[in-house]
């Protein structure tokens, strides 16, 4: 088997890592769905308070999204900035 270039290996593993980082989206999805379901319950109980519930729900959903966004930013960094290549180049001199 011929040897693999180290940089190519790092790029491949960065792509896999980016894919793994996007698993963080699961948590955001569950959190937002839970917020929306609770908001639907609240509107069902009190149709008069619909606008308050809606604004609260939207802010809550946006906060729940944060963890998913963290994963997304990490994935983008791994894909397009390749921070590990420089580390590797310094390592081998």
């Amino acid at each position: 088997m011929e040897s693999i270039d180290g940089r190519a290996l790092i790029l491949a593993c960065s792509a896999i890592g980016a894919g793994l980082a996007m698993i963080a989206g699961i948590g955001a999805g569950i959190g937002q769905g839970y917020a929306a379901g609770k908001a639907a319950e609240a509107v069902g109980r009190q149709p008069g308070a619909k606008s308050d519930v809606q604004s609260t729900m939207i802010v809550g959903a946006a906060i729940a999204e944060t963890t998913g966004i963290y994963g997304f930013v990490i994935a983008l960094m791994l894909l397009f900035m390749n921070p590990l290549i420089n580390t590797y180049m310094n390592l081998i001199g």
Binding site: I58, V59, A62, I63, E65, T66, I69, V73, L76, F80
Partner: protein, 226 residues
Amino acid sequence: MTDFTIEELFVINIGDIEWMIGSTHFSVLMISLFLIGFSIYVNRRFKRFQEVPTGLQNFVEMVIELFDKFAVTTMGQQGKKFASYFLTLFVFLIISNLSGLVLLRPPTADYAVPLGLAIISFFMFQYYGIKAKGVGGYLKGLTEPIVFLTPINVIGELANPVSLSFRLFGNIIGGTVLLSLYYSTPWFMNIGIPGFLHFYFDIFAGLLQAFVFTILSMVLLTGAME
């Protein structure tokens, strides 16, 4: 490779430092000029404002009154004092996030801009927290509920600007990346469908994130002051 990266327009050499002037600077400059021009226009126009507002004056008064009311309901009576800053922030973020529609690169898709705004908000929280509670009360607030948890409180305080800025940045750059990837598809897929994508990513997510950034800054500021 797709073209959502920050383009380098030209490089200024000051001494032996190279300053890259990129598309972010251009977009921010355009948006700032637009906002400043609009403000000057409104100001000139209302040198002779009427008792009964019409047209543009009506619109501007309505926006400011609505935002003042919103600030008071969110922050209590002290909200009026901060309404001007938050309205400026809100309008700047709205125009920034919508600027992807007119083929500028949204400035909020460069991490420098959300981080700068979040750092402004962060120092606001600390300053007004110290001002409202005094230095002793502020330091005592960090040691609650027990002294043992002080490092976690400090980390939590530092995490506020990070989460604020990442939320905005991630949403906007997500839209930018996805749309530039979509535009690299064959031409027959680019008829009509990008309109829906632009509607969701630029208009819906953009307005929502501008609103969330503003209201979270308000809520955190209220929390820092009590």
